[in-house]
Symmetry: C2
Subunit: 153 residues, 2 copies
């Protein structure tokens, strides 16, 4: 009931919003600021999303999943994270469009259990929204107004 | 590519998680604690979700949308909010199952613009995940461990 193209456009809108929240973060706080233990800095949360989304894109593209595994903190350079984010957003665009239509609704043997392919993508998107919402509170605590939630263009 | 039943089950899982975050909140902080201006207390955020979700359920059920409108803060009694949350979660279950299958993917003239019915539900769910993520930071700032994000049963 959701066309793949519509879902991918929705996902891309969220990626753009997350990129804006990332851009709003002071570079010197991105990998250091966390308001209470054991919360992680926003840059670390975003690397988790990059790792998780990469796992989903690999599985969507190949139909083969394996165990989820990614490096926890590949870099604390803001520019490296921003570049990785942009490159992966582009991947969602061109690789997402090439996922075989039948695969989206087909059960997949993933490292998270058996689920349809689209539900793996929705799980990654849910986690992005969750951690980005946390990041907007970090911004407010730093005295910075976050981008509007409903602005996705 | 997402069956309505699968989407509704996913939505209900998020509702259960939000109910747990609500239950974890100290009653005397639910409508008072906000860590920085102009952030709203978590109870107020949840009333927004109740209002928005109610708008979506009315539209899904009738195919008629009108303008979104809801009371900003119907009550500051924690028990009233909890009861409203539970009643609305039950509504998603029984009314969601009765939405005509053809309506989910059909364009609707909503107060948020023209979009398919399922995208209105996804928008409400996205907003719930976003604000609940913010609420988990409030909990950490209050010294309370939030429920696990991945536990939805």
């Amino acid at each position: 009931m959701i066309e793949p193209g519509l879902f991918l456009a929705h996902w891309q809108g969220h990626r753009r919003l997350s990129a804006r929240v990332l851009a709003a973060f002071p570079e010197d706080q991105l990998f250091t600021f966390a308001p209470a233990a054991p919360l992680r800095p926003f840059g670390e949360l975003l690397w988790e999303i990059v790792g998780q989304t990469g796992y989903v894109l690999d599985g969507l593209g190949t139909g083969t999943w394996g165990e989820p595994r990614w490096e926890r903190l590949p870099s604390t350079a803001p520019g490296v994270l921003r570049a990785a984010w942009e490159a992966q957003t582009a991947r969602i665009g061109h690789e997402g469009a090439r996922v075989p239509p039948s695969r989206w609704a087909a059960a997949q043997a993933t490292g998270w259990g058996e689920m349809t392919a689209v539900m793996t993508a929705l799980a990654a998107l849910d986690n992005e929204i969750h951690h980005r919402g946390q990041g907007t509170i970090y911004l407010r605590l730093l005295g910075i107004a976050p981008p509007d939630f409903w602005e996705r263009g």
